[in-house]
């Protein structure tokens, strides 16, 4: 499986560390809403199909990426930095990498 890091280009899955479901919202730090914390820490959507998930390119630029991947086919439909804002610098040009 290859994940195309916006910075580094397509790299083998072994360079990445999986960090689970992307959509989880961390409650306000001071929040005492137990249900919200329980959901954030423990509950997962775990869909059979399109899944929005986090990967860290730990063996490369170490950026965290939001990857949309189909859990039935492993086909990846999109990849973006989690810190999309301000990431204008440096994207692999198309063609630089297959």
């Amino acid at each position: 499986m290859l994940i195309t890091c916006p910075y580094c280009g397509p790299r083998d899955v072994s360079e990445y560390t999986y960090q689970g479901e992307a959509g989880r919202r961390r409650p306000d730090p001071a929040s005492a809403d137990r249900a919200a914390w329980d959901a954030y820490v423990y509950d997962r959507l775990n869909p059979a199909g399109e899944h929005s998930e986090l990967w860290q390119h730990s063996g490369g630029c170490r950026s965290h990426l939001v990857v949309t991947r189909n859990t039935l086919t492993h086909v990846i439909s999109s990849v973006a930095f989690t810190r999309e804002a301000g990431r204008s610098h440096g994207r692999r040009g198309k063609g630089a990498r297959r």
Partner: protein
């Protein structure tokens, strides 16, 4: 008659001899021979014994689909079992033995199993060997008694214990088009893609790329087929955008067009070149793939079809045409299709007498009839072979009338003398890789075969794998596939297709897979699965293909059912009374053919993990330290002196620290540069305590929790500047803490301006501890004072030691006056040596992990043994570090009822009351009961002999431990048979007020 070498022909080098041994007998062959062709040329027909019945077996195929002729290759003590003789190239000195026989291949005692054939029907072991329900053989005992014998009878080759010292390697390759299979279709595809300027890799599992063109009698582009292959290969290898990989089996089709291939680099060489690996794994990442993997001929199922001398028709043709070996003098062909007539003709041309062609069909095409008469063979249509004669070698076959529609056998038996029987039951496309990267294969009723499925990845099939069985069609498909894979349009016209003559033979076989008559008819030859076994599976309800495979073991042998899957399914389909496609299809998974474990370990064979060394590593080793591993790191355990035990050594070291001064290498601590305007705010959020109030030039001990509120890691963090911190972590958690922090910054708080960088390797660290530590520093540090005022507890100064810049922080893990001295790693050894020289007047000793552990246990400091992922800050009495003024990671979850209620395991000190050592991993009980240990209330986490207390002490996690302080208990260690009284005490064993910290 025996098989023999033909006087001429074949693609072997007859001018040279190669000598090898098989079962101790020396033979010779020629370069270009496989073990199978060379042994056949020497008249050998018996190659192996089958798995269950130990029946004598010969060679059935000429390739990777071989179920029978498996051998073990010896290289000294190193054994390589289960290698198909058909894939093993001979070389000088090759030493091969047969397998699964005792005492010899010709006389095998295991053959007695054959007598009990019906008892050993499919799944018989599920129904028996259960033994008595009560008594001495109850439970699993009777089965295990039987199993001992069964295990020895089972298995094929024998692997050895001698370490394989060969070299293996992996190469990562990137290309635009990978072509798998270098037969006519693959060669055309590779050239077409290369013509488009693409980077092309062409891989073929045989030593001689070319596929069927290597043994075909056809003409391609005006040349004999083998000549055309040579021309194509020469042309392709001259291009710098093409890489040709012979002896390379592409075995795995993984996600995103990542394919794995095994190149057998030196197996065929008498002596490898320096640095050459035995096997090389190619990990190929490619834009698109052309699968030109061809098709595998399948046998017919009939009684006695496993007799040595029964061989696939195309295999016999290949031996004759490619290897110059005639597998028999007097052959009978038994077929359900036209294509096999060409094989008969090839054998006839090579000098065999084709006595009879037995065809299950009532009528055959004119072209086939013509071939039969060219062979001078009698053509018996509407007949089938129902039996074979001979023992370890075929002597004749029995033929009866056969109705292809009903499957009924009738009429008189006719015996035909024959020393070889060529069989052909049609062809199965080798769609294994296509299946790995595709949907369900589809059944083609005309071709009676599964064809490649819809792709789920970017590949295109061409040639026989796609059902194009004629060379002309394969060439055409190859060209088109190559162009498509290269991304060019399909409609460029037919440029330079070197057409072979179109074949007039009907590619479709009759839908006949089995001839039902008396006797064992084998479907899976290697596993001895018979047609009756398939029907038994049906009778017992194991009908789905997966049940069939699992119940009968059909297709589970080393050949992975390449010759048996389709016939087995067809027989099941007949039993069920449904078409084959409704019985199901087999989903193929990697590997396509077996691959050596070594090739997958590649460069890690013999080097599983790198060694991670501190800057002072060589000094420690030279200084007599016993090194121990901590993750990838190597660290000194003790610097033992001659005659010392480990305990004596660390006690000596620890005493020196408390008595004067010691030095320990702490370079392995994780170190993270935390930089940026929001660094302090960030630390406040990730640590349980506050760092924003920490002045520049001071350090603070910090504790981190996980999001779920459990303790995670601890360490000191130094404020080096307004916006710069140096965080330290425990050695084992360094990577995890880094990832935890990076996650928080990237995902949770992207607005914070903080950079994290691992600087673990930038700094060498030495901890100098003991009442004389300051004096040692004073003797060697320049550029700063180190007195109490300049360098108070948790203070930081910068200076130099013999010219090397150092950063010194006064902090203590041992409870003594202590300093951590950090310098650039390149200066580490120099600074270390300088400190030791400065400490010599004070009797400084270097100390290792054991003494470090003893000193911190005396102080009650926790490490990974206590922060084990299940303990909370409260459990470890670190609740004083939990800020109430701010939220932090874990603060919302740390007070849940399961983490605060009674019964939690809490940190306590343990003192041995019987004067004997305590052991890590021992449990704590209120009443020791060595005979029947029970009622554990906790366990010992860290142990040492305390030089300060002169007792064996330990830290432990004990239920409600805090409340048990001052009570008696027992250590209970049944695994090591150690029981004894202890007292549970506070974990602060030594200097609880911390007076010594201040010298």
């Amino acid at each position: 008659m025996s098989p023999r070498r033909t006087p001429d022909g074949g693609r072997i080098d007859r001018s040279r001899q190669v000598r090898f041994t098989f079962d101790g007998t020396s033979y010779s062959g020629h370069p270009g021979d496989t073990l199978a062709s060379a042994l056949l040329a020497n008249g050998v027909t018996l190659f192996g014994r089958s798995f269950k019945y130990h029946r004598p077996r010969g060679v059935m195929t000429a390739g990777i689909d071989e179920p029978n002729a498996l051998v073990t290759v010896l290289e000294g003590d190193v054994r390589e079992p289960n290698i198909p003789a058909t894939m093993l190239e001979i070389r000088d000195g090759l030493t091969v033995v047969s397998q699964n026989r005792y005492p010899s291949l010709a006389f095998d005692l295991g053959a007695i199993n054959g007598l009990a054939g019906r008892l050993f029907s499919a799944g018989f072991y599920y129904k028996t060997f259960m033994g008595p329900v009560i008594g001495p053989l109850k439970g699993t005992r009777f089965w295990m008694f039987c199993e001992w014998f069964i295990r020895r009878a089972a298995g094929l080759g024998r692997a050895g214990h001698a370490a394989d010292r060969s070299r293996y390697e992996r190469v990562n390759a990137f290309c635009d088009v990978l072509v798998v299979g270098a037969g006519p279709a693959g060669l055309m595809a590779a050239r077409a893609a290369a013509d488009e300027g693409r980077r092309v890799i062409l891989a073929d599992l045989d030593a001689r790329p070319g596929g069927s063109a290597n043994w075909s009698d056809e003409t391609i582009d005006g040349m004999a087929a083998p000549e055309w292959v040579a021309t194509m290969l020469a042309e392709l290898s001259g291009r710098d955008n093409v890489r040709i990989l012979p002896r390379t089996t592409v075995w795995g089709y993984y996600d995103d067009n990542t394919l794995a291939a095994l190149e057998r680099v030196t197996d065929h060489k008498a002596k490898p070149e320096t640095g050459e690996p035995r096997h090389r794994t190619w990990t190929i990442r490619t834009g698109s793939v052309v699968l030109a993997t061809g098709a595998l001929e399948r046998p017919m199922v009939f009684p006695g079809n496993d007799r040595p001398g029964v061989m696939l028709a195309a295999a016999a043709e290949r031996y004759a045409s490619e290897f110059g070996v005639l597998v028999g003098e007097r052959a009978v062909l038994f077929t359900n299709n036209d294509r096999a007539y060409r094989s008969a003709a090839a054998l006839a041309r090579a000098g065999a007498k084709i006595g009879t062609i037995v065809d299950v069909r009532d009528t055959v095409s004119a072209a086939a009839q013509r071939l039969a008469s060219e062979c001078g063979a009698e053509l018996l249509t509407g007949r089938a072979v129902v039996a074979t004669e001979g023992r370890s070698r075929l002597t004749g076959v029995t033929v009866r009338a056969f109705d292809a529609k009903s499957g009924a056998v009738s009429g008189d038996a006719r015996n035909l003398a024959a020393d070889c029987l060529l069989v052909s039951g049609g062809w199965s496309p080798a769609l294994h890789l296509a299946s790995q990267a595709g949907a369900k294969p589809r059944w083609d009723a005309a071709l009676q075969a599964f064809l490649p499925p819809e792709p789920t990845q970017n590949w295109v099939a061409a040639g026989a794998v796609a059902g194009a069985y004629t060379t002309a069609e394969a060439l055409r498909q190859g060209l088109e596939a190559g162009r498509r894979a290269a991304g060019s349009s399909d409609d460029r016209g037919e440029i330079g297709i070197p057409l072979a003559a179109d074949d007039e033979l009907d590619p479709a076989p009759a839908p006949v897979f089995e001839i039902r008559a008396d006797g064992k008819a084998f479907v899976d030859h290697q596993h001895d699965v018979t047609a009756d076994d398939v029907r038994l599976a049906h009778r017992e309800g194991f009908v789905s293909v997966e049940h069939l495979k699992r119940y009968t073991t059909l297709g589970m042998a080393t050949d992975q059912g390449k010759t048996s899957n389709v016939p087995g399914m067809a027989i099941m389909a007949a039993a069920v009374g449904k078409p084959v496609e409704e019985v199901g299809t087999t989903r193929f998974r990697p590997p396509f053919a077996p691959v050596s474990l070594g090739s997958l370990a590649a460069e890690r064979h013999g080097h599983l993990k790198p060694e991670r060394l501190t800057p002072m590593h060589d000094w420690h080793v030279a200084g007599g330290a016993t090194m121990m591993t901590a993750g990838l790191w190597f660290r000194p355990q003790v610097y033992g002196q001659p005659g010392e035990t480990v305990e004596q050594a660390y006690v000596r070291e620890a005493k020196a620290v408390r008595g004067s001064v010691g030095i320990v290498d702490v370079s392995t601590l994780g170190k993270i540069a935390v930089q940026g305007p929001d660094a302090a705010e960030f630390l406040d959020r990730v640590y349980t305590n506050t760092f924003s109030t920490l002045p520049v030039g001071k350090a603070r001990y910090g504790l981190m929790l996980r999001e779920d509120g459990f303790a995670f890691d601890d360490g000191t963090t130094w404020r080096l500047g307004e916006t710069e911190f140096l965080m330290t972590t425990t050695t084992v958690n360094a990577g995890k803490v880094m990832q935890h922090l990076e996650y928080l910054l990237d995902v949770v708080w992207p607005d914070l301006r903080v950079h994290l960088t691992s600087v673990t390797d930038e700094w060498a660290g030495a901890a100098l501890s003991g009442p004389k530590a300051r004096q040692v520093l004073e003797a060697c540090v320049t550029g700063t004072a180190v007195d109490d005022a300049t360098l108070p507890f948790m203070g930081i100064v910068r200076g130099e030691i013999d010219g090397a810049p150092v950063t010194i922080c006064r902090l203590s893990f041992s409870g003594e006056l202590a300093y951590e001295i950090y310098c650039g790693a390149g200066y580490g050894t120099h600074v270390w040596e300088t400190l030791i020289a400065a400490g010599r007047p004070f009797g400084i000793v270097p100390y290792g992990l054991e003494a470090l552990g003893a000193l911190r246990i005396e102080k009650g400091h926790v490490t990974g043994a206590e922060i084990d992922g299940r303990t909370t800050a409260r459990d470890l009495h670190l609740d004083w570090m939990l800020s109430k003024k701010k939220p932090f990671v874990g603060s919302a979850m740390m007070d849940r009822e399961g983490m605060t209620g009674p019964g939690r395991l809490e940190l306590v000190g343990v003192v041995s009351l019987d004067g004997r050592p305590l052991n890590g991993g021992a449990h704590i009980v209120e009443n020791a009961n060595p005979a029947a240990p029970r009622d554990s209330i906790g366990h010992v986490t860290s142990v040492c002999y305390s030089p300060a207390l002169r007792r064996y002490i330990a830290l432990a996690l004990v239920e409600d431990g805090k409340a048990r302080r001052g009570t008696r208990a027992f250590v209970s260690d049944p695994v090591r048979n150690r029981f004894g009284p202890v007292e549970l005490v506070s974990h602060h064993f030594f200097d609880p007020e911390g007076k010594r910290l201040h010298g």
